[in-house]
Symmetry: C2
Subunit: 402 residues, 2 copies
């Protein structure tokens, strides 16, 4: 199978249009704050995955309901306000966003999804939102993907985009996406929004399955700060514009499609970690020797959420000793006499005894902006896991103080 | 019952001596780094509680073993190195510390406990430790409590001490203690050491029970950063110097004793929070309306360990919205439509709808260095909990980077 090539851009597949504008939710007129993505084709199917937080923001509750029927034509998004914990009015505001967008696009309201991201617990200011919807519907453009990607940012320092073109039955199929997220990010969905548009021909159920596989190996494998947000949403639209045989797991090119979807989502997820609030180091955590994959995963999440480990990574403190401490309290099965830890290929702890690492090589790793920590939990079990995370710096604290 | 009065000093009860010296484990000669506490009475009973971390430092493993018989005459302590994750050599080093101290004091080695605190995973430098033991045994003093309290500090900015004098059967009984701890602190024992000496007459089993009660309402109710250390130890020695009837739960003054022990430990625990690494605000968290005390406790611990909540407290961000987010993912039963949150007596969220707090009063609270957050989880249940914690600042990150 040919490995797809990825482009850092939100290329819209044929039959999609998008736009991003400054509507006035954010004070800074240089910052766009509303986006709209529209499929012009009636037979567009849609799949979504959403936060596991019990407090779901008003638009999340609405989208989950609408996506049950498996079709959707438009997504209206605002940044600057999460419309979460906003009571009955928040629900009305989300409904109004959908209705106004539907009216402007002459679509049934049940075909319009809504996303919001930003501060929690603040009432929506609807005047700019209404103005934004009017502006967006007038500016939809087949090349508008990157404008949409910019408009969904909050504390992100840059837009996050990825696209690829694959062949299904010899027909070119475009798959493009964007996401946002930099803080309140943890496995099982982050404070993040992600949208993927493709002109592939596929039914809802298979799109849902493919999306779940792709999310489980991408957005569900990252952690910035361990806080699962109220608004996390990943939505994929497929508009059947490409004239190939309908994709199913039995289709000879199914793997091409799944691989490309995995690839786009993984690329977007890694861009979230690389833009983690205040981050200076990208850390890949790998565990093996656990009694189960679940145990390996639990250990890595505990490590990725330890203040002491994360601040140690930020500097050059040998955080492996703090990881040992975490392994001891995170309630997974370990052999306390048989833990191995490597930084890249440098042994730090072998059979629970400190190694004597090559100081020069170690210093180089500790001062680099990306390294891998390998942990063996020592049980002899087959359980493994991987998690992508970052350090916690003074800048992270500054960003979140006000 | 008369409420005991507490003094900020480690007053040694009659029959105890202590000392603190600079032995050379820490580079700075101004900083003492070894302490010794000794009971001169043969019938001294002892009780201890230790970290729940699966990685227990070598001295912790040793102390737990020795305390099974319920008596102990001396505690030798070093700061600057935790002797944790130090393999077979660490065990030998802890044994040598006990043996040398026993030799100098002419005590059986099974009567000597050892504590270590500081960095994990570094081999002990035993030359200064040996010198320190010799210095300490020559300098033991009935007024040496505060010297010992100073010598056990690591990132603490000040010694933490508390003493009281009560009457049992009309006989004055002294109870004095000290502790250390500022980071790697979480409920279920912190990176902390605490020692309490009393001349009360009590048997081991009752001392153990009383200590457990006191720890559960003090050191187990605090959290700095959610990291349970490998070395946490609370040790209480009672030397039976005071000529009262042996204390049992049936003794008419049992409650006086338990109250004083609770009070000393609570005071010491609060001093740990007030000296939390980089802290600027002391936060008392109170939960009610949970289906059980365990649920209430779990919710508060999740809140106290959220990066976003803690950094919000550090500034003036209305962190109540982030607490709502935590309640949604921390896996406790809540009524998402019925959450109440107050800052002191200011309503922030009523029935899950943002209140309109008096801005001036709220600003005053957010800028103060101590306030209480009341959370009602809305289930109508009887479960309650309390937890004492602090904010997370840029200074916390700086302290832990290197």
């Amino acid at each position: 199978m040919k490995i797809p090539e990825y482009t850092d851009s939100f290329i819209l597949a044929p039959g999609f249009r998008a736009a991003g504008v400054h509507a006035g939710i954010k004070a800074d007129p240089q910052k766009s704050d509303m986006a709209l993505i529209v499929s012009d084709r009636e037979d567009t199917v849609a799949a979504g995955m959403f936060t596991t937080n019990k407090f779901q923001a008003a638009p999340v509750v609405m989208d989950i309901q609408k996506l049950k029927k498996g079709t959707s034509r438009a997504i209206i998004v605002n940044s600057g306000n999460a419309n979460a914990c906003t009571g009955a009015q928040g629900k009305l505001d989300a409904e109004e966003m959908a209705q106004r967008t539907a009216d402007r696009l002459a679509l049934p309201v049940d075909q319009v999804l809504v996303s919001s991201t930003g501060s929690i617990g603040k009432p929506m200011k609807m005047d700019p939102v209404r103005k934004g919807i009017d502006l967006l519907t007038a500016q939809l453009d087949p090349k508008g993907g990157n404008q949409a990607a910019a408009a969904i940012m909050t504390t992100d320092t840059r837009p996050k985009t990825c696209s690829t073109v694959i062949e299904i039955d010899g027909v070119p199929v475009t798959m493009g996406g964007c996401c946002k997220g930099a803080g309140m990010i943890e496995p099982n969905m982050a404070t993040m929004l992600a949208y993927i548009c493709t002109d592939a021909t596929i039914d809802t159920e298979n799109l849902r399955q493919a999306l779940k596989v792709a999310v489980d190996t991408s957005f569900n494998k990252i952690s910035i700060d361990g806080d699962t947000s109220t608004n996390d949403s990943v939505i994929c639209l497929a508009n059947a514009h490409a004239p190939h045989n309908t994709l199913t797991p039995q289709h000879p090119d199914w793997e091409v499609f799944q691989t490309a979807l995995n690839g786009v989502l993984f690329d977007l997820a890694m861009k979230i970690v690389w833009d983690g609030e205040g981050m200076t180091k990208f850390i890949e955590l790998r565990a093996e020797g656990a009694v189960s994959d679940a145990d390996a995963d639990k250990a890595l999440r505990a490590i990725a959420n330890s203040f002491l480990v994360k601040t140690g990574w930020a500097g050059t403190y040998p955080a492996w000793s703090r990881m040992v401490d975490v392994l001891g309290y995170c309630d997974v099965e370990i052999d306390t006499e048989n833990i191995n830890i490597h930084y890249d290929d440098i042994p730090m702890l072998i059979k629970s005894t400190p190694a004597s690492p090559d100081t020069e090589a170690l210093t180089k790793i500790l001062n680099s902006n990306r390294y891998t920590v390998h942990l063996n939990l020592g049980t002899g079990g087959e359980g493994t896991a991987v998690l992508y995370t970052c350090d916690c710096t003074e800048e992270y604290v500054r960003i979140n103080m006000f």
